[in-house]
Symmetry: C2
Subunit: 149 residues, 2 copies
């Protein structure tokens, strides 16, 4: 018999991995309609909150590395969603800004958060319990993203 610790049903990571993938898939029909992917939508969320950010700030905000974010931003630039220009104070930086098209996408995607929200509501996940779920996930993220030194 296999040890309990190796059973798929006892794995936190497998649950997070599956829930994350399935929920991202739920976004797909809503986003692809506008030529967007889920990570690109996350970039938009970051830029709608604060426009004209250097690549590094976006990467840190999304807990990603620049080697993931850079090609993603290049694709979005090619689509005319944002622009990338060299920083004036620091020439190493690339400042990412939304275009008009990027700003307008927010109106076009206005119903996405609500559509997704209603798709996940269930017995144990409700407006009352989500704060607790958020707290647990934030704690995990905080623990795992803490500086290793």
């Amino acid at each position: 018999m296999i040890g309990e610790e190796f059973k798929l049903d006892n794995q936190l990571c497998f649950r997070l991995y599956t829930a994350s993938r399935l929920l991202s898939q739920a976004y797909h029909p809503l986003l692809s309609e506008h030529g967007l992917t889920y990570p690109q939508y996350l970039v938009l969320l970051a830029l709608w909150e604060k426009d004209a950010q250097p690549v590094n700030d976006i990467a840190k905000r999304l807990f990603l590395e620049t080697n993931t974010v850079t090609p993603l931003l290049q694709r979005m630039e090619k689509e005319g969603i944002l622009t990338r220009r060299k920083g004036e104070k620091d020439a190493r930086q690339m400042i990412v800004s939304l275009t008009g098209k990027g700003q307008e996408l927010q109106k076009k995607l206005a119903d996405v958060p609500f559509t997704i929200g209603s798709a996940v509501i269930c017995d144990s996940v409700t407006p009352e319990t989500t704060p607790e779920l958020f707290r647990m996930l934030d704690d995990i993220i905080g623990k795992l993203s803490a500086p290793k030194a």
Copy 2:
């Protein structure tokens, strides 16, 4: 000002996505030592529970599609971790079985669940609270993986 529903801090999916990635990254040093990736580790968990499964059963168990699992299994076969042979009753199926090497990996990875477990323990995620966390994630997975018809 941006609407509350668009703030990154209010997104369940972003949290799941981030927690999933960071926790998978925590597995990396433990698995790469044995030439494994995290999804390959999931396949091993499935096969350790029940050996000699058709591709479709493994895919369903992991909530993945065969177009993801097939190449993954082909790589693992090339590494000598498992074998793939045509089903006898149903010639469409490919039955996936562990090799000796695949079985021995379980002993070599014996400490992985405990190492990971201690890496995520924190204020809000403890042996007492994980059942509730599991229940919420399972509900989300159940809701999103339910047959669309």
